[in-house]
Amino acid sequence: MTITYDDKTPRHFMIASIVWGLVGMLVGVIAASQLSWWQANGKFLESITFGLVNTDGLSFLTYGRLRPLHTNAVIFAFVGNMMFAGVYYSTQRLCKARTASDLLSKIHFWGWQAIILGAAITLPLGLTQSKEYAELIWPLDIAVTLVWVVFAINFFWTLAKRNEPSLYVALWFYIATIITVAMLYIVNNLQIPTSLTHSYPIFGGLQDALVQWWYGHNAVAFFLTTPILGIMYYFVPKAANRPVYSYRLSIIHFWALVFIYIWAGPHHLLNTALPQWLQTLGMLFSLMLWAPSWGGMLNGLLTLRGGWAQLRTDPVIKFFAAGVTFYGMSTFEGPLLSIRAVNELSHYTDWTIGHVHSGALGWNGLMAAGMFYWLAPRLWKTELWSKSLANLHFWTALVGILLYVAAMWTAGVTQGLMLGQLNEQGTGLKYEFVDTLLAIRWPYYFRTFGGTLYLIGFAFCAFNIWKTARTGTAVNGTAEITPLEKEKKDFMGLKPIFTHKSTQHVFCVILFAILWHFAPSGGDWAAFAMVIVFAVLAVRAFRKNVKGWADFHDKLLENYIPLTVLAFIAVAIGGAVQILPTLMVDRAKNIEGRLQERYTPLELAGRDLYIAEGCYNCHSQMIRTLVPDIMRYGRVGVADDYSHLGESIYDFPFQWGSKRTGPDLAREGGPLVEGNKHVRLGKRDNLWHFNHFLNPRQLSPGSNMPAYPWLFENETDFKALPGKIAAQTRLGVPYPTMTRDEIEQNAREQALAIAETLKDSAFLPSREDLSGDELRNYLANRQVIAMIAYMQKLGTYTDSGLKKEKPDTFDPDQQRQARETPAPVETARR
C-alpha cells in the first residue's frame, strides 16, 4: 500500500522558522547594541532623520521591552517552528503513517504564527508578565496552551495510527517534550487576570521564584534540548547514512536526562534567599546532569565516526557535527556554572548570557541550519542551490558564535571579579558598579559584532533555501507500507509499568532518596540506609535478569501510552518534590524574621510600570548571601543585610532578577519622611530619581540605562487600581478593606504628596512652561511619580517577632536547624 506523507506542514514550519529566525536575531543584534550604545534606545533616530524625530528614547524600542521580544522570538518562533518542522517530517516516517489530521496540522501552524504575531505586538507595548520566557500575557498563554494541545492530539493520534510496531528514540524525546512543556507552561502561568492584558501570578515571592525557574530552566531543557535531540536522532543518521552509535546509551541517557533535568531549576537561584536544601539539590542535580547530556552528544558525534570524510563535502554534516559539539560544550559549562562557588562569580553577569548563546546559536542554530539544508532539497525535490553559500554560512556563523561567546566570557569574568574586588585597605569595594560597565565596553562591541556575523550567515541560509525552493517544486514524500496488525502494537496496559521488577526497584530507590531529604532527625539516616539497600538490590536484580529488563523496555516501546505515562512520572517527580513542600510550609511564617511592607495602591501601580518597562531585565532585587553583595547593596553596619525570604512575600510576581546590567535595587527604598504619611526617602531623593529617569547619564556618568521620557507624559492608570488591589487581596495580601473610591483617592493623594516635593526643584524640559503648583498637578498624574513611589518603597519591611513552635515537616532546612539548635526554633533559617 502506498501512502503520501503530509510534507506541506514541515515546509510551512520551516519557512516560518527562517523568517522568524531573521526577525529574532535582528532584534537580538539591536538589543546587544543598546547595551554598549545607549542611543540605540531611540535617540539615534534624531541623527538619522536630521532632527525630524526628536526624542531621548522610544518606549517600544527600549532594551527592557526588546529583550523579551528577542528571547521569545528565538525560542518560540525560530526554534519552535524549526522543531515542529522536524517533528512533523520525522514522525510520519518513523510511524510509517501520514500525520493523523491535516486540519489539526493547519490549526497548529496558523495558530502558532498568530501567537507569535501577538507576542511581537504586545511585548514592545510593554504588556508582559515579567517571568522570563513566560512574558506573554494571559490571553496569549491560553492560546499557546490550546495550540499545544492541538499539537499533542495530532502527534499522539499519529502514534496510535502507526504502521511501525516500535517507537524509535527520536519519538521518545518528542513525547517527553510534549508532555513536559504542557505541564511547565500551565503551572507557571496560573494567574488571576485584572484586565484583558494584565494579571498577577498566583505564586509570589519565593514560591514564584521557584516555580518560574523550574519552568525557565526546563524551557531550555524541554523546548530547546529534548526536541532537538529527537531531531538529531533522526536527521544525523539519515544525513550521514550510518547507524546510530549505541541503542543502550539512548535508553540510559534518555531516562536519566528527563528525570534529572527537571530538578536543576534552583541553580538559577544559588546564594539567594532560596532555602539551602533547594539550592543544594539544584547544584547536585546539575552536576549529575552532565553525563546524561554528554550521552546525547556521544550518540550524535560517534554516529558520525567513520564518516568524517563527509565533513569536507557535505555542509549538512558540518552543521550537525558543530551543533552537537556546541551542545557538548554548553552542557559541560552548565554544570560548571551550577557549582555554588563558580556561580558566586558568574551569576548576574554576562557569563550566563554567553552560556545560553553557545546553546542557542551553537546547538539550536547550527542544528536548525543542518536540518534545513538537508530538508530543502527533499521537500522541493531538487539539489541545494549553492553548497558554497552554505559553507560560507557555516564559517560566518562559527566565527560569529566564537566571538560572541569569548566576548561574554571576558565581560562576565571581568565584571564578576571587579564587583567583588576590595579596595587596597580592605575596607570596602574597589569599584562602583558603573566602573565595571565601562570596563566591559569593548567585549560588548565584540558581542554585537559576533551577533551581526551570525545574523548575516543566517541571511545566507534564508537566501539559499529560498533559491532552492524556487528551482524545485514542492513534493510530498511517499512510502510503500504494510499496514500493521492491531495486536502488534499498543497491547500492554498501564499496570506493568508499576508491577515490573525494573520500575519497582527504581521507584523504591527514588522513594527512599526523597524520604532521606525530608525525614526528621534519625529518620534521615534510616532512609539513607534504605537507599543504599534498595540500590544494591536493584543492581542485583538487574544483573540476574538483564534480558528480562531489556525485553520489558522493548515492549514499552511498542506501547506508546505506558511509555508516555512513565515519561510523565519521571519528569513530574522533580517538580513535585521541590515545589510542593514550599507550598505546604506555612507561608506567613516562612519569612526569616522580616515581613515586607505592603505596597500602597500608587506603589503597586509603580511596580506594574517597573514590570511593564522590563526593568527586571537589568536590575535584580536580591542581595545574595555573599560579601560583595552585602557590602555593595546592604545598609551600612548591618552585617546580615542579605535579602530575607519575608522581604518579597507580597511580590506577585517576584522580581529577584537574573542579570545585573545595572545595580541591585533590593534596598533602594526607605522609611517615611518624618511628619509625612505618603512620602518616603530611600537611598536617593525623589529629585534624584526624577532626573535619573529623564537622563541617567547626568547623575551617573557612563551609565547605559535608557532615558524614559514617556514616563513624564503618560498618565497613571488610577482607575485600574481597585481591580488590582482586589486581585492582590485574593492572593493573600492583607489589605484593609477599602472602597474603590478610597483606593483611587489614596493613590492620588500620595501622588500629589510626592509631586509636592518636586515642584520647586524639578525641571521638566518638555514642559518648561510649568512650575510650582501647576507642575505639581501635572506630575501627580504622570507615571514617573508612581515609579518613584515604588522606588522609595523597594525592600522595606518590618521586623517580625513571629516564632515557630515546631519545625515544618516539609522543610528540610527547619529540620536541620532543629537538630542543631534543640531549643525553641526561630523562624526558618538555613
Partner: protein, 210 residues
C-alpha cells in the same frame, strides 16, 4: 551503506554486547535508520556514577551532618571582619591626618588630587554637579564658600566618611542626606576626595597653609 542483518535465533541484545570488542547492530530498522548497541564508554560511566556518589557525599557532609557553617553564618562573620578591618584602617589613617597635612601635603599633590577627582566624577558628580555647584539642587554647592558642617578639612573628611550628621535636617523638602561614603571608600580615598575639594577652594583653606 546497509550492513547485513544476519538472521539469529535470539536477537542480540545488551548482554551480548558487553563482551568486549563486539559491535552489535540491532535487528530493527526505522525508516532506514539502524542502531548499533555499543558498550557505554568507561569514562562516561565513571562521570555518571561519580556524580551520583558526589551527590550522596556532598549532601551528607555539607547538609545533613551540620559540620559546615551555613552561608549566612559565614557571610555575617566575614562582613564583621571587614567592619573591624575598616575601623582599624580608619584609626591608622586618622593618626597620620590633620587639617594641615590635608591642605599642605594632600591637596598640593597633583596625583592625589587627580585620584580624588576620579572618584568625584564617578559618584559625587550626580548630586554636586560637574562644576561642584550642585545645579540640580540634589546636594549642597561645594564652591559657594559655605561649609555648613564645619570648615576645617577634617570636618569635611568626617562628613564624607560618615555622611550627613544625624541631627542634620538634610535637603528640603524630603530631608535627603548624604550617605556615609566610608561604607564604600577607604579612608585614604576619602582623604583624596577631601584633597580634591580643597584644591577647588584654595582660598577657603588658607589658614591651614602654615
Amino acid at each position: 551503506m546497509n550492513p547485513e542483518n544476519e538472521p539469529q535465533e535470539e536477537p542480540r541484545r545488551a548482554a551480548f554486547a558487553t563482551k568486549k570488542g563486539e559491535i552489535v547492530i540491532r535487528p530493527h530498522e526505522y525508516d532506514g535508520i539502524q542502531e548499533y548497541d555499543q558498550k557505554l564508554p568507561n569514562w562516561w560511566l565513571l562521570t555518571f556514577f561519580g556524580a551520583i556518589l558526589f551527590y550522596l557525599a556532598y549532601w551528607l557532609v555539607y547538609y545533613q551532618a551540620g559540620w559546615i557553617k551555613t552561608d549566612t553564618e559565614k557571610v555575617t562573620a566575614a562582613i564583621t571582619d571587614i567592619q573591624n578591618q575598616k575601623k582599624k584602617a580608619l584609626e591608622e589613617t586618622l593618626a597620620t591626618l590633620d587639617d594641615q597635612t590635608l591642605v599642605q601635603e594632600w591637596a598640593n599633590n597633583p596625583e592625589i588630587v587627580a585620584s580624588g577627582q576620579q572618584i568625584y566624577s564617578t559618584v559625587c558628580i550626580g548630586c554636586h554637579g560637574p562644576d561642584l555647584d550642585a545645579p540640580l539642587k540634589l546636594g549642597l554647592s561645594l564652591v559657594d564658600g559655605e561649609w555648613k558642617y564645619g570648615n576645617r578639612p577634617m570636618d569635611i573628611f568626617k562628613l564624607i566618611n560618615e555622611g550627613s550628621p544625624a541631627d542634620s535636617t538634610g535637603m528640603a523638602p524630603t530631608g535627603a542626606k548624604m550617605v556615609p561614603w566610608g561604607a564604600t571608600y577607604s579612608p585614604k580615598q576619602i582623604a583624596e576626595m577631601v584633597a580634591f575639594i580643597i584644591s577647588k577652594n584654595p582660598d577657603d583653606f588658607k589658614e591651614f597653609q602654615n
